[in-house]
Amino acid sequence: MPDAPGPPARRRSLDAVAGALRRLGSMRMGIVLLAFLAMTSALATLHPMERAIRDIYTSWWYLGAAGLLAANLLACSAARLLALIRRPGRPPAAGGCGSFATHVGLLVLLAGAAVGGATGFRASGGGTAGDSFAVTRAGLTIAIESVDLEYLADQRLRPIARTRIAVSRDGQVIGHDVVSINFPARVGGFSINHQTFLWAVHLVVEDPATGERSTPMRLVEGESLPLDGEGLALHFEAFLPDFFLAPGGEPVSLSYYPARPVLAGRLTRRGRTIGRGLLGMDRPETIVTRDGERRLELVGFENAVVLQVARDVGRPYVFGGAVLMLAGLYLSLGVAKGGKRDNGAPA
């Protein structure tokens, strides 16, 4: 095959560049890096996910290896591009273009992930209808306008929570949307995803001696309500929407539909559990505290949601790179030819 025509100096410099790229983008290096990343990733799954992410996937040596792989890909792609353009007069083969597109796609994907990881952020917040929470880093305020549960035909399945939100920046509402599982809101460059829903109860505490009743106090699953000045508190362990006492005496919920709502709680004194109990709707329970008797009454309940607010500017590049990579693979692996009948013997 004749060399590409051109002045010798230009050809020499092209050769030098190609040589340097060949070394940086060598296949051996790429395979070693891929094997190393695959092995460490596999071993990391033996650890709890949070620990693996903290200690391995975001460690300097893992990210360094991934960066080296990106450099390898960059050099490899550049070498492939040089090979394509140094064939004047000959149209580039689909396989060569496909291979180039695959490597560039993967590079764009990795670059997008790196940019997203370095500049993006993720925060969580939530509440019940009427609440709002600020996402300081984003300069946003998310107001929860309503939380509706869509019960499925089989109410033993977790219902779908739909949260209507208003997103504000600097006091100006910049968007309204409804968020539910699989259907995030995309407002002002931010993604707002549904994470989970919880139950919140409304409790009234009455002093039987004086007949004084508190205004309804809201308690979300996992929170505690102080009952006296000596560290006694009611810890809200779980909400049982369709309460049933199992044969073993264990309180369970038969479904998610609140047919017989009951609060399952734990009494604690300075953090130590001293008793457990159930509190049904409009069936007050009396508790003896250091400040005297207190009557606790469950007067209502509603749903709280936890939303995730995230910004990832690399996301479009990750998906764009992925699609380019897939298209490149399709071209380079010759699948596009398909359907031809042959005997399969190699050439």
Binding site: I31, P159, I181, N182, L254, F319
Partner: protein, 298 residues
């Protein structure tokens, strides 16, 4: 109490009947391919026709289950396993149609994998065939169907490559055990050796199947990322299933690079494909039972 869908007795009988008849046909086809390999060539045609019949019956089962569930049956090990078996048979038959007659030798080893997957979904106590409704996170038919279908296609390609790799090893073993010279096809070993394509051709088949699997596996990872972004607010979360899918992808990427760019041939590439299939199997089964994560859908 576990939530289950109500299925009419007629629907249940049709589904169950088609399932067991299809399984019987798959196993019969497997025996046919085995006899064919050992020199009873007339069994090759029978096996091929039986496998086509098994696939049709199995398609009927999938449709019946679809009707009983009210959704595409792609969720959980039982439904995914069934779909994988069907797709593997389809991928094999497609290749067989293009590569006759030598490709029927691959039918014998593919049948072993079909039988193994059938054994898993029918005999393993933790695999349930109960009709379960979809949890909310999976109620996104577009991405559920794309993600799981591409996954099954990828696994089918890798399983087919593994079946060819196994045949490659069998061929090597038989070649070393067979007496030199002698009349063709006088012993089962000789007959098998005469029928199995040569090593280079088998390697070509293996590469073709691995390529098919790799392409669909890539599509599976990408579609999963797009869906995860909508469902969980991130396209990648290092969940064990995601990570092991990536490891599977990397092993086959290494195989393809080693073969295409470094010119690896023979035993090394066969071992790489076996490793890739083993990692794929761990991604499918090992992760589900040994490594807890958010991909636990039954």
């Amino acid at each position: 109490m576990e939530p289950l869908l109500e299925v009419t007795p007629a629907g249940w009988w049709v589904e169950t009947g088609l399932f067991y008849v299809a399984l019987g046909a798959y196993l019969t086809a497997g025996f046919g391919y085995g006899w064919n390999l050992l020199g009873r060539r007339e069994w090759g045609v029978v096996a091929s026709a039986t496998l086509r019949g098994a696939m049709l019956l199995h398609a009927g089962f999938l449709i019946a289950r679809w009707a009983n569930l009210g959704r595409v049956p792609l969720v959980g090990h039982y439904e995914f396993g069934n779909f994988l078996i069907w797709v593997l048979a389809l991928a094999y038959l497609r290749a067989e149609r293009r590569r006759l007659p030598g490709y029927r030798a691959v039918g014998a080893t593919v049948s072993l994998f079909l039988a193994a997957y059938i054994a898993y979904i029918t005999l393993f106590p933790m695999v349930s065939s109960l009709h379960r409704p979809l949890p909310p996170v999976l109620r996104y038919p577009l991405w559920l169907n794309i993600h799981v279908t591409t996954s099954a296609l990828g696994y089918a390609g890798f399983s087919l490559a593994m079946a060819v790799a196994l045949l490659w090893l069998v061929r090597e073993r038989l070649a070393s055990a067979a007496p030199a010279g002698g009349a063709p096809s006088t012993t089962p070993i000789r007959a098998a050796l005469d029928f199995i394509p040569d090593s280079a051709t088998l390697e070509h088949y293996m590469h073709e199947a691995a390529t098919f699997g790799f392409l669909w596996h890539t599509a599976m990872i990408i579609s999963g990322g797009i869906w995860a972004d909508a469902a969980w607010g991130r396209y990648w979360g290092w969940d064990p299933k995601e990570t092991w899918s990536l490891v599977t992808w990397v092993v086959f990427a290494i195989y393809l690079h080693a073969r295409l760019t470094r010119g690896w041939r023979g035993r090394n590439t066969v071992y790489l494909v076996i490793l890739g299939w083993a990692v794929m199997l761990f991604t499918w089964l090992g992760v589900a039972y040994l490594l807890p994560g958010i991909h636990a859908f039954g």
